[in-house]
């Protein structure tokens, strides 16, 4: 805040530009990208480091290592002993965590804005100084196996989703789950984790996103001080296969303890790659909202309220991904109805759109919701940072967030119908069904002999 008068003069002069320049983007000499978005509504800040390394970068046999490494990042470094990372952030009044997806691994801290240096010091340190000891690894891999049981193995619908992706994607690494196959976790070693860390944890593979009550130039200086000194290193080649052409509908069944069956249908569909030129992904996003964007949207109204063939139903599509996307439909049949009844009813709704299209009224409604959501997002600094990190890590610019809003607003009814006709076809479809098992008929899953970890 030195030279207040001069700053003010400059600001007035640069005002139109300044308004357009929030967020501000920088690149450190080592290739690390920094994006700062000012939000002065509260004296707090969120800092997120996004690594372009997720489960899609894993190879068969070590699935789950991206997520396992995320856990190991909370252990010690050469300078910060085991367990101290979280203690120091907590003592500064901070909240911290991390998340791994198929596309990325990201770490974050939320703090009073004045304590941002605490975050930068620790996060930069573990970017290049992490110590993965055999002892810490052997405990943490057990924690991750518990996480897998909790997230997937004992959750029937999560199991169906995992199996659907495993069948829908054969050559593309979206085939395997982020948490990893249990057998891969059982065979994972500390060396696998070290190898992953050495390969991907480097500043030229990272994007730092800071949102909050901060001055971008001051953040840049701080970033140069802490992150700037970490040397860049060459990244391994990324060999990501294109999913092999599907030649017909695929079907699968998952048995698990449950009361009702469940249906999940996934159509291969493209993700956004060129925000300014693509139009299909926007039309697919609008299509999902027309089907399921509010309590009486098409699917809810027709399947739950009128036909009463489903007790729950949904549609979903992710616009942003490094790899391909899927258009998903799911639902639980009403008591007395079958999965086949539900699938038939969903297909009727899809056919209606292919044949008769959507109405202007539906289109306008989705656009009104999109515009409102764009404002609602601004109530959360964390969410604003998430959007920037996701878009950047998927290979696009944060600036395309504005483009995306404009393009969504420009989608036409004919485009919605066209993407339904092009992508929602059987040759792109995988159908997964949960076959519910009575509780007393299911044997508890047994771990394979010889793989027990010593306590």
């Amino acid at each position: 805040m030195r030279n207040l008068l001069i700053t003010a003069g400059c600001l007035a002069w640069l005002l139109p530009f300044a308004a357009a320049a929030n967020p501000t983007e920088f690149k450190l000499d080592n290739g690390m990208k920094l994006i700062v978005k000012e939000d002065h509504r509260a004296p707090v800040v969120v800092s997120q480091v996004w690594y372009k390394a997720g489960s899609m970068d894993e190879v068969s046999g070590t699935t789950g290592v991206a997520h396992l490494l995320e856990h190991m990042m909370f252990k010690g470094t050469k300078d910060v002993p085991t367990g101290q990372f979280s203690k120091i952030i907590a003592a500064a009044g901070g909240k911290e965590n991390a998340f791994t997806s198929s596309d990325h691994t990201a770490y974050f801290q939320q703090l009073q804005a004045s304590r941002l240096p605490v975050s930068f010091r620790l996060e930069a340190d573990r970017m290049h100084n992490l110590v993965i000891s055999d002892e810490e690894f052997s405990k943490e891999i057990k924690v991750v196996m518990e996480e897998r049981r909790w997230r997937t193995d004992d959750k029937p619908q999560a199991l169906v989703y995992e199996q659907l992706r495993g069948v829908a994607f054969q050559s593309h690494p979206y085939h395997h789950p982020v948490i990893g196959w249990m057998n891969d976790l059982e065979n994972m070693t500390a060396a696998d984790a070290r190898n992953w860390y050495r390969s991907w944890y480097t500043p030229n593979n990272a994007t730092l996103v800071v949102v909050g009550d901060v001055d971008p130039q001051a953040v840049l200086k701080l970033a140069q001080e802490y992150y700037g000194k970490i040397p860049a290193q060459p990244l391994p080649p990324r060999k990501v296969p294109v999913e092999a052409e599907q030649h017909g509908i695929k079907r699968l069944t998952v048995k698990a303890p449950a009361q009702f069956p469940y249906l999940l249908m996934g159509y291969h569909a493209p993700a956004l790659k060129n925000p300014a030129q693509d139009w299909e992904p926007y039309a697919l996003e609008v299509l999902a909202a027309i089907l399921d964007g509010h309590a009486s949207a098409r699917l809810n109204k027709s399947l739950i309220q009128e036909q009463q063939v489903a007790s729950a139903v949904g549609a979903g599509y992710d616009l942003i991904a490094r790899g391909p996307s899927m258009f998903l439909l799911d639902g639980t049949p009403s008591e007395g109805k079958s999965v086949a009844d539900l699938e038939a009813a969903l297909r009727v709704e899809i056919d209606k759109i292919k044949n008769a299209g959507v109405t202007e009224e539906e289109l306008q409604r989705v656009k009104a919701q999109t515009v409102a959501n764009h404002v609602y997002q601004r109530d959360s600094m964390f969410y604003q940072a998430m959007l920037i990190g996701e878009v950047e890590t998927a290979g696009m610019s944060y600036q395309s967030l504005d483009t995306m809003l404009d393009k969504l607003k420009a989608v036409t009814a004919e485009q919605v119908r066209e993407v339904a006709r092009k992508y929602l076809i059987d040759d792109h479809l995988t159908v997964a069904e949960l076959d519910p098992q009575p509780l007393d008929n299911v044997k508890p899953a047994q771990a394979p002999k010889g793989l027990h970890h010593a306590n």
């Binding site: 303890p257 509010h294 009463q308 999109t370 404002v375």
Partner: protein, 437 residues
């Protein structure tokens, strides 16, 4: 313009040094409705929550699920609009309806843009939902069937089985032991008349509060409250709930289930929201099982032994004594090992209390993290609702840090000794292999 900018920059630096809690305006309308309002024009947003003492603790056991279904039906036909019209009118202006519902409270929430067209249309629909629900018979039948399906599905899942058993053992015949959605038999028997009666008895002005956060003036806020509540009848502020029996029978219940992981819950009836021990227990529980990697439970169960992904404890203070709950999930053949670790950790903590260093760490996090609690409109709205609903002082947020700072090791030890008897707890294990031979 330049001068204004200088001022803005300067003020921001100031607020960065000492954060004032938002200024809460409180008033009571002529019809008895209590209003909690924070005016803020930073974003073109308006958040509202209208809350009634109409949670599931108002259900008798043979009508369990009634309060939840009545609440669920509010937006499914009201003021001459059917459910589809309600949903479309909200979506047409990008507005979002929500509704908090728990043992104590039934709420109707709205998030909308504050621009006149959007705001007015959303408020018009919200006003009908709160004041003129119609409970259409055909929709009731359909939603009953969906509720029953949901109950049946949940009762096959280990987390739900554990939670349901836990609450029943903790609260016995007290309504806190009921299920929010009810039971298959009780929901099947509910009639339209039941729902209308419940609505008439509980959705009353004297039983209502309105929290408003965002881009309107106090004058506009007053008009909004009138629009949302003027048609509610007077009278019948909620009767106090029956007292909770705090001394319960220590018991360990094992329930067979094929899951790969055992779900373990332990606990005892805890505290009321306005309890004088609230801060001592809140800060003390940070050290035991509320403070993530700072907590003893995570340290013993996860960090040292790798027995679980999550292990926690919390007090859930309610109108009456809500539960004190400890929970974790672990591979079914190590359930007893994990349980022994938890019991030992709790016993030692209750006997010894935290160390001075642990207490300092807890305070640093809670006080240092205070600005994060009020850094968005939505978070501030949630505080307005809690302050109103539990009768907390309007200065609650201003006093928060000082109250935390005042807690001593001795306070925590004394409060835990009064409230948490490790030998008098209920323990529920679902899908645990039998006790080690």
């Amino acid at each position: 313009m330049p001068i204004k900018l200088v001022l803005a920059v300067f003020l921001l630096v100031q607020t960065g040094l000492a954060l004032a809690a938002p200024k809460i305006q409180f008033w009571r309308m002529d019809n008895g409705v209590r209003v909690y309002f924070v005016e803020n024009h930073d974003l073109p947003l308006l958040d509202i929550s209208v809350d009634f003492s109409a949670g599931y603790s108002r259900d008798p056991a043979d009508k369990a699920g009634r309060a939840a279904l009545a609440h669920h039906m509010l937006a499914r036909g009201a003021g001459g609009l059917n459910e589809e019209e309600i949903s479309k009118r909200m979506a047409d202006v990008g507005a979002q309806l929500s509704g908090g519902f728990d043992a104590d409270r039934a709420g109707v929430g709205l998030r909308t843009l504050s621009s006149a067209r959007e705001r007015d249309q959303a408020l018009d629909v919200m006003a009908r939902i709160i004041q003129q629900p119609e409970f259409p018979e055909s929709v009731i039948q359909r939603e009953k069937a969906r509720t029953i399906a949901g109950i049946k599905e949940a009762e096959t899942q280990p987390d739900h089985i554990a939670a349901k058993t836990f609450m029943a053992l903790l609260y016995g015949k007290h309504p806190y032991g009921l299920q929010s959605s009810g039971e298959v038999a009780t929901v099947s028997a509910l009639t339209r008349q039941d729902l209308q009666d419940f609505y008439r008895d509980h959705y009353r002005a004297d039983n209502a509060q309105v929290a408003i956060m965002g881009d309107v003036t106090a004058e506009q806020a007053r008009a909004i409250v009138t629009q949302l509540t003027a048609k509610l009848p007077r009278g019948n502020a909620a009767q106090p709930l029956p007292p909770v029996a705090l001394k319960i029978k220590a018991e360990t219940r094992r329930i067979a289930h094929p899951a790969t992981q055992a779900h373990i819950l332990m606990g005892i009836p805890g505290i009321k929201r306005d309890d004088p021990d609230y801060f001592a227990l809140y800060v003390g529980n940070y050290v035991l099982g509320g403070g993530g990697f700072d907590s003893r439970l995570i340290d013993e169960v996860r960090q040292k032994r790798g027995l679980a992904y999550s292990a926690y404890s919390y007090f859930m203070p309610m109108k009456q004594e809500g539960p004190f709950q400890i929970g974790l999930q672990t591979k079914r053949d190590q359930a007893d090992q994990a349980l022994a670790v938890v019991r030992d950790t709790v016993r030692r903590y209750v006997a010894e209390g935290p160390s001075e260093a642990e207490l300092k760490q807890a305070k640093n996090n809670i006080i240092g993290g205070f600005p994060l609690r009020i850094d968005s409109n939505r978070k501030i709205l949630d505080y307005l609702v809690a302050i109103g609903f539990y009768g907390l002082p309007l200065s609650y947020l201003d006093d928060f840090s000082a109250k935390v700072e005042k807690v001593s090791v001795a306070d925590i030890k004394a409060a835990f000794a009064r409230r948490v008897d490790p030998d008098a707890m209920v323990t529920v294990l679902v899908a645990a292999d039998g006790p080690a031979k």
